[in-house]
């Protein structure tokens, strides 16, 4: 083997070994959970950190929004259709904030309430005119399909 070929062989085998090790480490990393947000069920199960700030994700429960008359304070309930979590927020809410909307709230637990310092609305990737959305909802009601409003 010529020196250049030998060198090339060494380089290629080193790269392959490195990629193999990296793939192993990546597989190991993927088994760990990287939590970006917690659902109410996870909070109920005690997975969320005590007293620390975290993100709560879920859907705003229907008929749960209570706006204060004299301030910007809003109370509502976030649900993942299994567990529910009362949320308290003071401030201006985004336009997309409404019942049945997926939201991401940042804040911390105070007792059994989640006090949010930021509420962001998450919209899904579906785009359609209002009539079509209504028709789909009607069809879902007719077939008694549990509404999947999560995004």
């Amino acid at each position: 083997m010529t020196p250049t070929r030998k060198r090339r062989l060494i380089v290629v085998s080193l790269v392959l070994v490195a990629v193999a090790i990296a793939a192993g480490l990546t597989a190991l990393a993927l088994q760990q959970n990287m939590t970006y947000l917690y659902s109410p069920s996870e909070v109920d199960a005690g997975h969320a950190p005590e007293g620390a700030r975290f993100r709560l994700g879920g859907v705003v429960l229907e008929d749960s929004i209570a706006r204060s008359t004299d301030s910007l304070k809003v109370d509502f309930v976030v649900t993942d259709r299994f567990h529910q979590m009362p949320v308290e927020y003071t401030g201006i809410l985004p336009d997309l904030f409404r019942e049945g909307q997926s939201i991401v709230a940042t804040g911390a637990m105070q007792g059994d309430r989640f006090v949010a310092t930021e509420v962001l609305a998450k919209h899904d990737e579906t785009y359609m005119p209002k009539e079509v959305a209504d028709a789909i909802d009607k069809a879902k009601d007719a077939h008694r399909v549990p509404g999947d409003t999560g995004g």
Partner: protein, 227 residues
């Protein structure tokens, strides 16, 4: 050219670089002093409340060390380029990537390792929670070699330029972003008592690949900018 002569060339290079650093050992402390001063600015700017400082401590230490390392990158090839020994290195019959790996290794030992050693102290200044301290050191041990390796490629691209400081930062910082996210992410997760192994494993995976690929890329970049 035999394998033995290549090893002795590497050893000679490492010895020479270490001697050069030892002759100017005062300069070697500069990154540490710089990081210390950056850290000292934060309580002055944000106020001394321990609660506030505790929350930002890990991230601030990470960013301070990252910038200190970025400023130190410039010295990697600067003097070698000026006295012409860099071109000798490129022309030598030994694999350039291996020689560059030695240079990067020495540079990491002399600039990044002191920073890692003082990192717990810097964290203490910002009331870093005790359980995060060793996660921070571990993340830095994985992240700083990555920073040096990736930075070396960019330094090699700008080596012939006269004023490369700002440009180097522009080239390097976007590539540093994922490392910062994972490294500081691990510390923040540890501070919230969340599982923090995943980001560290990602860093380790990236480091393994970079250890092999970055010296090769650095050699190619150096050949381009010295051609």
């Amino acid at each position: 050219m035999t394998a033995a002569s290549t090893w002795s060339a590497c050893a000679a290079l490492v010895r020479r670089d270490l001697i050069l650093v030892w002759r100017r050992r005062g300069d070697a402390l500069n990154p540490v002093l710089f990081a210390l001063m950056v850290i000292a600015l934060f309580p002055l700017a944000l106020g001394p409340e321990p609660e506030v400082l505790r929350r930002i401590a890990a991230g601030v230490v990470f960013v301070a060390l990252l910038i200190a390392g970025l400023l130190a990158l410039d010295t990697l090839f600067r003097s070698d380029y000026e006295d012409g020994s860099l071109e000798q290195l490129v022309l030598s019959p030994h694999p350039l990537s291996l020689l560059l790996a030695c240079k990067i290794g020495v540079h990491w030992l002399t600039t990044a390792l002191p920073l890692i050693i003082v990192a717990p102290l810097l964290g203490e200044l910002l009331h870093l929670p005790a359980e995060v301290r060793w996660v921070l050191v571990g993340a830095l041990l994985l992240a700083t070699p990555l920073l040096s390796l990736i930075g070396a490629v960019c330094v090699a691209l700008t080596v012939g330029m006269h004023r490369s400081g700002m440009l180097l930062a522009l080239l390097v910082l976007p590539l540093y972003v994922p490392i910062l996210i994972f490294g500081a992410g691990a510390c923040n997760a540890a501070a919230l008592a969340l599982p923090h192994a995943a980001p560290l494993l990602w860093l380790a995976a990236a480091l393994v690949v970079a250890l092999v690929v970055a010296p090769l890329a650095c050699a190619a970049a150096l050949r381009i900018s010295l051609s």
